[in-house]
């Protein structure tokens, strides 16, 4: 989905708070542990979890600390999976329990293709309302494959609990100046891209 979580290249942000200030969120280990249990018990998978975070209302997403985003996603998925109800959670906290918004449709992987290291590829100009792992800054852009990974489940399906065939992901190299002409620092930008997101570039 074209959500506000898709932050790469967005402007108006400020200095990184580095080094990080000491934190006093005593509930962090609990949230991390609950999430680990839910994954281990196959209550949801990592793609469903990431998508549930992306579906948070924009204001909540932008303002919540990292582990509050996690607990919001856990709560949302527990409700969507029928393990809890919203009323139950609100009653347990005796107050408001903000949740993520509804999900768009998932989709299955595309027919297998094959790309080789060194090959020039294009990221499809796709707009996907469900879970997707193409950052907007490479949509429609052309790059070069520099690494091929072990196949992994297609997130656009896995994020919606649909049958997710495994497929390779490719580390694709772009030039910053092609992604943001005249308005970036010079760099080689690498993005890990699932096979279904790529298309062949006709050789001239």
């Amino acid at each position: 989905m074209d959500g506000l979580h898709d932050l790469g290249g967005k402007q108006g942000f400020g200095r990184v708070k580095y080094p990080s200030a000491p934190q006093n969120e005593s509930w962090r280990p609990l949230v991390r542990g609950l999430h680990a249990f839910a994954i281990e018990s196959h209550i949801y998978n990592m793609d469903e979890f990431r998508h549930a975070i992306e579906r948070m209302t924009p204001r909540h997403y932008i303002s919540a600390p990292y582990f509050e985003r996690h607990l919001t996603a856990i709560a949302t998925l527990l409700i969507e999976k029928g393990i809890a109800t919203r009323e139950e959670l609100e009653s347990l906290v005796d107050g408001e329990f903000p949740l993520s918004g509804p999900s768009g449709p998932g989709r299955l992987p595309f027919a297998p293709q094959s790309f080789a290291i060194g090959e020039t590829v294009r990221v499809k100009n796709e707009f996907v309302s469900g879970h997707v792992r193409v950052p907007a800054y490479i949509r429609g852009k052309t790059g070069t494959i520099v690494h091929v990974s072990t196949p992994t489940p297609f997130p656009d399906a896995a994020g919606h609990n649909m049958p997710a065939e495994i497929e390779p992901t490719y580390d694709v190299r772009f030039r910053a100046r092609d992604l943001w002409p005249d308005t970036s620092d010079e760099a080689l930008n690498h993005v890990a891209v699932f096979q279904s997101y790529l298309e062949k570039v006709e050789s001239a």
């Binding site: 790469g8 950052p135 196949p151 760099a187 891209v193």
Partner: protein, 201 residues
């Protein structure tokens, strides 16, 4: 729904506690699960793992070569865990003229079993938004002023491949034993926002 909904939600502590109650009652989460998981994570998934890999690579050219071809196997070779959904570990080699830096623009993925839990600044929206487009500027603001001749390579963790940077060994540490070398390898250097060349012997 973004402008006027101003009622304060319950505190994160309360919300987390409610989720714990639900998972115990309805999903049979064992009483000790969170405590045991936390202990395991804090003990096993630490920066020292990646630091040992780096130190070994600095002192063992064959291990270094294996690591650059298959980071996952190189991690397992030293006995480090890799969770199921981190399918690949790719090790990125810094050189005198190449600097690698890692980010996850869409969320905050890291190779946490190898380099330890991601620091807060890595999860910062400012870091996620800016380092892909303003890499040199952001690194300079964070204290790493790279020469203009250094090629910057940014790696966005958008799939199940996890990255770690293999920093360059500081010249002053030549000949050190591997365990002593491991002590100088920082998490930030394996993410790529610092280099170690200035480390004193």
């Amino acid at each position: 729904m973004t402008d006027t909904k101003r009622e304060a939600p319950a505190s994160p502590e309360k919300r987390a506690a409610a989720l714990e109650i639900v998972l115990r009652r309805k999903a049979d989460m064992p009483k000790n699960f969170v405590a045991e998981f936390t202990e395991h994570a804090d003990d096993a998934w630490i920066t020292a793992n990646g630091a040992q890999m780096v130190a070994r690579a600095w002192t063992d050219p064959e291990y270094r070569a294996r690591m650059l071809v298959d980071g996952t196997a190189a991690a397992r070779e030293l006995g480090f865990e890799f969770p199921e959904h981190h399918r690949n570990l790719v090790v990125l080699e810094n050189t005198p003229t190449v600097h690698n830096v890692i980010v996850c623009t869409l969320c905050s993925c890291t190779a946490y079993t190898i380099i330890g839990a991601a620091p807060d600044w890595y999860k910062d929206l400012d870091y996620r938004a800016r380092v892909v487009r303003e890499s040199r500027t952001v690194l300079r603001e964070m204290g790493l002023d790279l020469p203009a001749t250094t090629e910057i390579r940014v790696w966005d963790t958008t799939a199940d491949t996890r990255y770690m940077v293999l920093p360059m060994q500081p010249p002053a540490t030549t000949g050190w034993p591997v365990q002593k070398l491991a002590t100088i390898v920082t998490q930030d250097s394996m993410i790529g926002v610092t280099r170690l060349e200035q480390v004193k012997g």
